[in-house]
């Protein structure tokens, strides 16, 4: 168990059953009064922010979170299934939990899955993923309209802006941190 004296930025604790990350912390003590420990915490499942003030004597359960390397297997409805390569254990995550990460999930992609207790609460992707363009309009040579990008759909169904010279069937590199086109894979 943690006590209020252990509170600091970066601490992970369990509140009302959910894991929270302490993102801001201060110690306040008015006059000769009792000390108050002011915290701002982020829910590690849904990302919501919470302000809480504690007094000395309170205690907290540490949230043990584990990052496990897994492989993305398949999607069924809005459920995404991942498998631990060592234990063959499978976890299922909903589309809502994955957020934008779903745009880059191609079968067999290796990702880090954050597990809290039995529950998968999020994934970390590689910074760059390679995805094949499945649909984009032909760039008309001599186009002088001045457009320096055009929409393209990749094999996961994600649509992004790419440079005009990218053609259907090409493999491109996407930055998963901002969802933007990075470069094309030659050859």
């Amino acid at each position: 168990m943690y006590t209020v004296a252990d509170l600091k930025k970066g601490l992970k604790i369990i509140l009302d059953g959910d894991p929270y990350l302490v993102v801001a912390f201060d110690f306040v003590k008015p006059g000769k009064g009792q000390a108050l420990y002011r915290t701002k915490m982020r829910n590690m499942i849904n990302g919501s922010l919470l302000d809480r003030t504690y007094r000395s004597g309170e205690s907290f359960e540490p949230a043990s979170l584990e990052e496990r390397q897994m492989e993305y297997l398949y999607k069924e409805g809005n459920h995404y299934t991942f498998m631990d390569q060592q234990t063959y254990e499978q976890v299922v995550m909903e589309e809502e939990t994955l957020g934008d990460a779903k745009n880059y999930l191609l079968e067999n992609l290796k990702v880090e899955v954050m597990v809290f207790g039995e529950k998968a609460i999020g994934i970390s992707l590689p910074n760059f993923v390679n995805l094949r363009v499945t649909a984009t309009e032909q760039w008309a040579k001599g186009d002088t309209s001045g457009n320096d990008s055009k929409p393209a759909t990749v094999e996961t169904g994600y649509v992004l802006r790419v440079p005009p010279f990218i053609e259907e069937g090409e493999l491109i590199v996407i930055d998963t941190r901002n969802g933007e086109y990075s470069t094309r894979v030659k050859g």
Partner: protein, 302 residues
């Protein structure tokens, strides 16, 4: 910490020292390691040797010097309070305390005004304003005096007496009153605390529920705590014992009583004393909002 903050810190301390020397105060040094502090419900001393503690404040020894006839005293010394660490707190910090016999807390409030004006003149070049959280506070404009009762009503929409019963005083003070005080462009005295919140202060002659205690706020930052000293040894012992009862009730250990102090208290003339955080005064002078940036080292980087 930046080199210029270290210079400014030295200049502030020199100005404070000059101020009291010019006014005929005796600068004293009293032991830092003592057998007993004045017990406080929410202040925990740091113990080093068995049955000895580092001082949480030099008040016990300073008051004993008043009992032996000294009339105007000041001291700049290190104090220790266990587990106090935040953007405005260090477990080891520097405290200025001064004491006067033959007067009450009103005189100390005048001292505060003159001291801050002196420091501003000596250490601040351009507009002579202190700065906290980007707010300028001018010590040369008329200072504000607000009673604790009025502050709770006006800024907290609550009665201080009701908050006392419900144990809500700290929350109302830190979340509503202090932020409101941060809006003033001059220093503010919050004064006349409920007696329960002033363990060593004399009560007001006309109202025993209120004590002659004040806190000085500059830009919402609590800078100093002063009061007319209680010099009734029987009442003082009773309050210390109440403090220990409250400590035990909240699962803390009782603290030893400073017996020699209690034994000489009957000889203390009418007096008033005040403690002012030097680190915070440097913060205000430098316009720095975090205490870490006005000390040479924090405990974390030792």
């Amino acid at each position: 910490m930046k080199a210029d903050a270290l210079w400014l810190r030295a200049r502030v301390i020199k100005a404070v020292r000059d101020f009291f020397w010019e006014r005929g105060f005796l600068e004293v040094e009293t032991p830092l390691l003592i057998p007993a502090n004045a017990p406080e419900e929410h202040i925990n001393p740091v113990s080093t040797l068995p049955s000895w503690q580092l001082q949480t404040s030099p008040e016990i020894c300073m008051k004993r010097l008043l009992c032996s006839g000294h009339r105007k005293l000041f001291q700049i010394s290190r104090c220790w309070r266990s587990d106090e660490r935040g953007s405005r707190h260090l477990s080891e910090f520097t405290m200025l305390e001064w004491y006067r016999s033959g007067c009450d807390y009103q005189t100390l409030m005048i001292d505060c005004e003159e001291l801050l004006q002196y420091v501003a003149t000596a250490c601040l070049s351009e507009n002579r304003c202190f700065v906290h959280n980007a707010t300028k506070i001018n010590p040369f404009s008329p200072w504000r005096h607000i009673s604790v009762q009025d502050a709770f009503t006006q800024f907290g929409q609550a009665s201080v007496w009701d908050c006392l019963r419900k144990g809500l005083c700290e929350e109302i003070l830190t979340s509503l009153v202090e932020p409101a005080l941060a809006g003033f462009d001059t220093p503010v005295f919050l004064m006349d605390y409920p007696t329960e919140l002033a363990a060593l202060a004399r009560t007001k002659p006309e109202n025993r529920d209120l004590a002659e205690r004040f806190e000085l706020y500059v830009g919402g930052l609590e800078l100093a705590n002063g009061f007319s000293e209680l010099n009734d040894p029987v009442e003082q012992r009773r309050r210390f014992e109440d403090t220990n009862t409250a400590r035990k009730a909240s699962g803390q250990t009782a603290l030893p009583l400073p017996e020699p102090f209690l034994n000489t208290l009957a000889h203390m003339p009418e007096s008033a004393g005040i403690a002012l955080g030097i680190d915070r005064l440097v913060m205000l002078t430098a316009g720095i909002d975090c205490i870490d940036d006005v000390v040479a080292f924090t405990p974390e980087n030792l």
